[in-house]
């Protein structure tokens, strides 16, 4: 990314964004209080949602739902409609922000190819729907241990069904946060946007479960995959490593910006580098990350920009330095469109390469400055399973990262080049995919022993009695 590109990215906010987010914020406050009794501010917030959607195909339905809810009737269908309305507002925000990014860096993006609709499948979703309804009626402030206990039962029902894994993982993460925050009425700060986001996405997933991505993928690709870096997501009971990379199709078509995600269920005591052990079903991917190698893929299914990983369709290739890949291929690679219902600013994660910047440190919050233009570093997104630290980023001269937006533009480092003791070193999030390579950290790790092995032993002994 050049200074001039950063300037375009950060020049004010896209038209209408602030207004749209204010409408969302009003809804989020109303949800915090619950819809059991909609007071004056709540009614105004709902009316604003109806107003914002009035010119859209959802307009009439949203207006009707808002009327009914303001009058005191909170039917499930009305809540689903409002979840749809909020999703549409944030979808528009996503489009405006991603459009701004694409303009700034001149990134080509393919249009969304609609997939064939499939008949809905029967799923055990009644309990999850009822729980989300109850939460919206009560509001975050009214959530108690009893309501949270029923969430646990729902998660248990959903988790074994692959098509419902997304909803299960969302509800489990949300319920754990609520459990640790009860009583929410006395919380010094309530994450209203975040929880409303999760409630909204959960409500949509519970009423319109998406088709299994595996079976939805009609396209298959063959070619060379050059990883750029690994983005790690986790909460107490789930971990996902999403590898961004560039696919050079064997048919000579332009290089594509793609990503592939592998995930596992876990428990809260498995943290730090130990999470890699849970992903050992994917040795080829882990080896490519640990040794910075390219990959050849043969007939791998792809849905939009998401490669659906299958170890048997992939082989290790030559060494490939992600920084070199980014320098040579990133400027011309074609990005994919976001699936319609996944459009939300939180999902924006665009690979970029930044070089020749100055690092500014304002009391621990870092930013990178290029030609007088600045972007904040998401220091809180440096995962404990990899070698990147704030100190390393602060001493870096090149950064391969993801541009994100969360109430402002951020760059999340995936890898940095830094000068340490007059030697240039590179550190990547995936460096420890096959085990910790830093002796100091390995020693600290050894102190807590092999937690995964201990838990598996306990599971083996106690679960099958």
């Amino acid at each position: 990314m050049l200074g001039t590109q950063l300037a375009v990215l950060c020049d004010g906010t896209p038209a209408g964004l602030t207004d749209a987010l204010d409408v969302v914020a009003g809804f989020d406050e109303a949800l915090t209080d619950g819809f059991a009794r909609v007071g004056e501010p709540g009614a105004a917030a709902l009316a604003a949602v109806a107003g914002a959607l009035s010119a859209t195909p959802l307009g009439d339905r949203v207006a009707e739902a808002v009327d009914k809810m303001t009058a005191g009737s909170v039917a499930r269908e009305h809540l689903v409609t409002l979840a749809g309305a909020r999703t549409a507002l944030l979808g528009a925000a996503h489009d405006a922000l991603l459009g701004r990014f694409d303009t700034a860096v001149a990134r080509d993006r393919a249009a969304w190819a609609s997939t064939a609709s499939r008949p809905p499948e029967e799923h055990p979703l009644d309990g999850a729907r009822a729980w989300l309804h109850e939460v919206a009626v009560t509001g975050w402030r009214g959530v108690d241990h009893e309501l949270l206990a029923t969430a646990g039962a729902q998660v248990e029902t959903l988790l074994p069904v692959p098509a419902l894994r997304r909803l299960a993982v969302l509800l489990d993460g949300l319920a754990a946060e609520l459990r640790a925050s009860v009583p929410i009425g006395t919380m010094p700060r309530v994450p209203t946007r975040r929880w409303a986001d999760l409630w909204t996405r959960g409500t949509l997933l519970a009423h319109v479960p998406p088709a299994d991505t595996g079976s939805a993928a009609a396209e298959r690709v063959t070619g060379r995959l050059l990883p750029l870096g690994a983005d790690v997501h986790e909460h107490d009971t789930a971990v996902q490593v999403q590898v961004h990379g560039i696919l050079e199709p064997a048919d000579g078509s332009p290089p594509r910006l793609v990503r592939t995600a592998v995930g596992a269920a876990k428990v809260d005591t498995i943290v730090g580098p130990a999470v890699w052990q849970l992903l050992q079903a994917h040795p080829v991917l882990l080896a490519a990350l640990a040794h910075r190698r390219g990959l050849t893929v043969t007939d791998l299914p792809v849905s939009g920009g998401d490669l659906l990983w299958q170890d048997d369709l992939v082989a290790l290739d030559e060494p490939a330095d992600p920084f070199a890949t980014a320098r040579v291929l990133l400027p011309t690679a074609v990005a994919a469109a976001t699936a319609p219902l996944d459009r939300h600013p939180v999902g924006i994660a665009e690979p970029v390469l930044l070089e020749g910047y100055a690092v500014r440190d304002d009391d621990g919050s870092l930013s990178l400055e290029l030609d007088g233009h600045r972007i904040a570093v998401a220091v809180d997104r440096l995962p404990s399973c990899g070698p990147l630290t704030a100190e390393l980023v602060a001493s870096s001269s090149a950064c391969l990262g993801l541009v994100r937006w969360d109430d402002g533009w951020l760059v999340q480092p995936l890898a940095v080049q830094a000068t340490v003791k007059r030697r240039t070193v590179a550190a990547h999030n995936g460096d420890w995919a096959e085990g910790v390579t830093d002796p100091k950290v390995a020693k600290a790790e050894a102190r807590s022993g092999d937690v995964v092995a201990v838990l598996r032993e306990r599971a083996g002994r106690l679960l099958r009695k």
Binding site: H145, R193, R194, T213, D236, Q240, A261, V267, L388, T389
Partner: protein, 168 residues
């Protein structure tokens, strides 16, 4: 707390609301949680690999109990918390930090108290049997996560849950 901070919490999507568990050895106490109004967990028996103890301290009342998972009372409970309860409290403090455990149990601790054993000493505790089955089945459910198959389809919702560096 600064107003800026509070406003940021209202308008941001990706936040770590609860700090991740701190790494600790699991061999002795494989399971600890602050749930159902109790500090509760499972302690592996030192002598019999097949046996586990279920120990708990109730928030507020500070009633404690320890028994095998088959509800046989722990022989170490003689008018005071047994070694299993001490181990449970110590590991809870490692995992969550003293402040979070003390707040959950509703006990005041002065500066300098930094272990679970120290925390137990502050309690005006008494023994009161509680059924082990609930906690033990929560432990089994906890272990069952490790038996779930992994996924290779993207989970877009996890973008709300970025991994953070605080665990190291």
């Amino acid at each position: 707390m600064a107003d800026v901070d509070r406003a940021a919490w209202r308008r941001r999507s990706a936040l770590r609301v609860v700090p991740p568990a701190r790494p600790r050895k699991l061999a002795k106490v494989p399971f600890v949680e602050l749930a159902d109004g109790r500090l509760q967990g499972v302690v592996s028996s030192g002598s019999d690999i097949e046996r586990v103890y279920v120990s708990s301290v109730t928030s507020g009342s500070h009633a404690y109990h320890c028994s095998t998972n088959n509800n046989r009372p722990c022989g170490g409970l003689r008018g005071a918390p047994c070694k299993h309860l001490h181990a449970l409290a110590d590991e809870a403090v490692l995992q969550y930090g003293i402040d979070r455990v003390a707040r959950y149990l509703r006990v005041e601790v002065e500066a300098g108290v930094d272990t679970g054993t120290g925390l137990l000493r502050r309690l005006d505790a008494r023994h009161e049997p509680t059924p082990a089955a609930v906690v033990f089945s929560r432990f089994l459910r906890h272990l069952a996560y490790l038996e779930l198959p992994g996924s290779t389809a993207p989970l877009p919702e996890l973008h709300w849950f970025p991994a953070t560096g605080t665990a190291r």
